[in-house]
Point group: C2
Chain length 393, copies 2
Amino acid sequence: MSTLLLTGVRPLGGPASDLLVEGGRITRVGEGLAAPEGATVVDGRDQLAVPGLVDAHAHLDKTLWGLPWRPHTAGDGLAALIDNEHRGRAELRRQGVTVAQRATALLGAYVAAGTSHIRSHVDVDTAAGLDSLHGVMEARDAFADRVQVELVAFPQSGLLVRPGTVELLEAAVRAGADLVGGLDPAGFDHRPAEHLDAIFAIAARHGRGLDIHLHDGGELGAFTIDLIIERTRALGLAGMVTISHAFALAEVPGPRLEGLLEGLAGQRISLTTVAPGNRPPLPLARLAAAGVTVGLGCDGIRDLWSPWGDGDLLGRAALLAWRAGARRDQDLAAALELATTGGAGVLGLDGHGLEPGCWADLALVPAATVGEAVVAHPPRSLVLKRGRVVARA
Amino acid sequence: MSTLLLTGVRPLGGPASDLLVEGGRITRVGEGLAAPEGATVVDGRDQLAVPGLVDAHAHLDKTLWGLPWRPHTAGDGLAALIDNEHRGRAELRRQGVTVAQRATALLGAYVAAGTSHIRSHVDVDTAAGLDSLHGVMEARDAFADRVQVELVAFPQSGLLVRPGTVELLEAAVRAGADLVGGLDPAGFDHRPAEHLDAIFAIAARHGRGLDIHLHDGGELGAFTIDLIIERTRALGLAGMVTISHAFALAEVPGPRLEGLLEGLAGQRISLTTVAPGNRPPLPLARLAAAGVTVGLGCDGIRDLWSPWGDGDLLGRAALLAWRAGARRDQDLAAALELATTGGAGVLGLDGHGLEPGCWADLALVPAATVGEAVVAHPPRSLVLKRGRVVARA
């Protein structure tokens, strides 16, 4: 790997510094660093540097990115959305549009926006088997030197309501999925304990983590969180479990919330949010105070579920901050932290940041402060992945 | 005025049409129109045309647009925000940065985004008198052929709590303000009936409309709306009154809301919303069903109140739609309608639209449907104001 000297950037809005990058990592940060012989020098003057953006909750296999705009056609409710996706995906297959093509197009957008890591759920069901997994793995491999992607085997069409899916999830893990997923064990699958027992068993058997979609709100969602905490503790999976969405945490009364936070923190269960517009926002300040790690994700991007999204985590941080009424730079910075440090915590990344020793995964943004970077989220002027320039405005 | 033939555009996503523009108005819409001798021909192929965007609630005098990013410094609550603005404005005056300069910079952004009309509130208070009004009028005049601006004399620092302000509002109207403003007659000024009596009296005396800021929520806001309806009826000002924000309508129980909607519709009182992130959204479907006109605004843009905003009404429509959970093209189109037809209704514009006879105020957007135009809100490829090209990508 070549040596690169990035000059005059402002890490997270701090004073201008030079960053020396060797062997893919940041090795020195300081003023007026000399370029080693043979080093490439990149002028980063007046640019704010942010660590590689982390999408902690994506759905690469679902995207229609790069295809013509497709007006949303689904009815209301989860079942209608799932049916609509089955029809839409069948149509795409007839047209010869592959999962790999669509995921590849979206990964290009992610890289241009400065994304260094993505955790993507991938549908596994009895209709398409592991096709989506193989397609996303193909796209992931093609982008291996530009963005790192980990995959969750996701029972989008239900687990126990679709016999054969439990076996498919395990096959997905054998085929290369990094984590085991779940979907509303109570509200959608109707057998919460059995659903969780099945996916925790696969995870424990293969030494993998879990990332469970939980849209169920109020006490039903809180009850499911209790069950997840219980199983995480029983199986010794502390630090390996994520709950995605977890709307219930925004809806239960204060004392109930406190109990849940204690359980989550105790088992180091992390959360992801996609900053939804029409659901109550997660109680982020209380989560932070309780020591619960939260990552940010773009969720599905321009797919059969929703026309929204563009793979820009800075823009998503802006939506999160705007929804919360954030105005001060420190509050805007807190939103960005979910898309950097928070996501890195969810994915368990080592060496994520802008300090010496960290991987040189970063993006330059023409902005004065992190606040401006979030509010305006202008196109990235330069993106480095492990010290290599992978995108430039 | 010159003649212009705009070819192959898709009005609001409809079939490709040519638009003939003569004397500043659209005179013909059809396929394969011949260019009259001497006409300028502009190729609009593959572009979606939207009517001129209308910002029904702006604060041109407050903006820091064009200046370096300024982290937000205010404390919480309305009084802290007002104090913060007084300090910030004094600092700007000391630096020699004028209202006219700042408003001019922002008008440039508005025009580039396809904005044809703006209703701007302008602070009138006992500290700065009519300075802001004169500054904004200067900027407005400089942009007269690119965007039409109407001004509301706005008692930002309070009306009755700041003796002398009532007289200043009347002086503002004499000096050229188009409408009379108000601010939380109950919650901020503490004398709702007297506050409203004072501003309605000025409006009636000068034959002007009113546009009243009403942040007060719940029953206090609903009570104030009752008082506004009562005075509108008593003074025969039907169709000349707007309530801005009107958060209370999102908060009162259904039967109470029904009564308010009947009163608003009966007096043709319009509303504006700025699509706030952290307040409940207005019940837009019920307002539409009741026949109440609603316009969309960007509110203050990158100012001492808030760092948000960029003068793009399409982007603001996206926030409104996203906050409401809109996914279908028709729901996304409804959000855009607030920024076109809705705003035109609030401002009482004639000839706003894309039909023959309308003013040729329009923007071209590289998008397949109105849904895509809202979700992606890409830079406008061309902007016409009264038939003249005023911005181009």
